[in-house]
Symmetry: D3
Subunit: 124 residues, 6 copies
């Protein structure tokens, strides 16, 4: 089993990773969620996003693709922002969305593309 | 609009890309499917997989993540093979599957991990 | 509100419709399911399939398309049989499956096409 | 087979159960839906919610969990209200939403938590 | 393999079919989508909707049923309009939505029925 | 923020809870899964299942309902066993499955009912 960390470390480590990945947008989503928000920080960011083996860029490609096909647009908006934060271009996010079409069809891709446009517009 | 190719080219180009990505496993899935198989070759591989903007490695990370959360295990098996073909290690595929957990939970990740083990076992 | 029927009528009417639509395959699925099976007969077949406004042919086109994109292959097998029973050709079922691709992608369509082949093979 | 009731009884019984479970919110959703609304009353509430074997409290725990993972937020709002009506505390609804995380991930749970907050705010 | 057409033909043919099926609503959705929009025209409308074997009426029955159970309401709105354009009555669209209930339950059907009402209201 | 525990405690606590809930079946699923299995123990069982606010009986009602509508049959089998372990009768599990029908339709409920029968048969 890999190295164990105590929970305080998991929380702090998660908070740092969340800030790195999602910036302010992530904190705003997580802050009002109580224990659920704490698990997002500890588990999603403290445990999973802190793993080695894939770059943050690759993790966000996977995440944008997943959230597109799952149709979770609120979180997709946060993670399209995250993808841009960790170095993907808007063109590469568009490409990731286009890659979902053969696997889940046009409707979820159309919705994701409109979310991408919204994010890009807000960042100008 | 980007460069247009005639359909014969799309088909041939798709077939070449399918062979590059999926090897024999892809052909075996597609061959008996009639017009549906033809669209997989022309559209999924001729159009989409031939696009620039993401590497094949990145496309397969997205695809393994999507097929995991969609629970499409037959196609996941083919694309875990594809991921290994285009240069991901088994460890990186495992990492991609672990990245799905915060977004879609453990059950689909467990199933995907068992598919990965099957593929790795068959390749030894 | 439209005409009300008592439950005994709903059950008998549903059983007759189930036999018309699914033949023996439907009965085999429903018989061992207790109250759940009774609701399938009363509600799905007694109430819904007995409605006017769409032909059985049109209802099965809708049903094959839905079960394809939902990935429910056991029930899809029954309803591909039903589609053939109420007058669709195997070619028209194939066409219905192909119609799902733009909306839900290739993986569920591939699985459905393989179910269609299985049904056609068993009917020869 | 269990006792059969005629449809008028099913409708009246369903209407009474709907009022018990969802209060005014349920009626407002169902009233404008024509035959679809009638089936919700007859089948969902007249048949299913009137069954014995689970308490209303337990049925709403199951329903809140299902609607969370299915991402059906409009109906989730009605059933979070229903859960509070039949005796769950807001804390227990929160707990039900947290229980979904290992099975379907954070995005649907985040959305559900925000719906819970909305319901609680409206009830103050 | 069936007749091959060059891509320019596919695009033009798709555009004509899109206009026939979705009218102005389709064009408005597709126009700002770049390459994704081009694939919708070439593949979904140029390839799939131009196939023989099912009438446009039957294709839209399948599509309304699919988009209902997938919960993709933005596209459902476009295709309920398309269904009315190719000759279904509002009553037949309602019937198609009711046909989804046994396969995917009430929540997605309720949402679809509300979309239908919206479309009907806008068309008066 | 609630009491923090170090990770060794989370793992041990999770292992104990997993044994309590799923018996041997849970361990067999988790053991070969590497880090993914560790997260199931630490997070799903150490963190979530150890929370107060709902009884284990209520957690399993929620879980059986969720896994039914998600169509995750392998995990459903484990959790139907878990439901029986923590005190639900087979009749109450059946009732939970029937409760899913209005929300997700018959196909997933039929599959779940067949899994229940399998579990009951193996336990005799």
């Amino acid at each position: 089993m890999s190295l164990q960390l105590n929970d305080q470390t998991r929380y702090e480590r998660g908070l740092a990773k969340l800030a790195e990945v999602d910036g302010k947008a992530g904190e705003e989503v997580v802050a009002p969620l109580g224990d659920l928000g704490r698990y997002i920080i500890e588990f999603a960011f403290g445990d999973i996003y802190n793993r080695e083996g894939l770059s943050l860029r690759e993790r966000e490609i996977a995440t944008v693709a997943m959230l597109t096909v799952l149709g979770r647009e609120t979180q997709l908006k946060v993670h399209i922002g995250a993808a841009l934060n960790v170095g993907l271009s808007a063109k590469e996010v568009e490409e990731t969305i286009i890659q979902t079409v053969p696997y889940a069809g046009f409707p979820t891709a159309i919705n994701a593309m409109n979310v991408l446009k919204e994010v890009v517009k807000e960042r100008v």
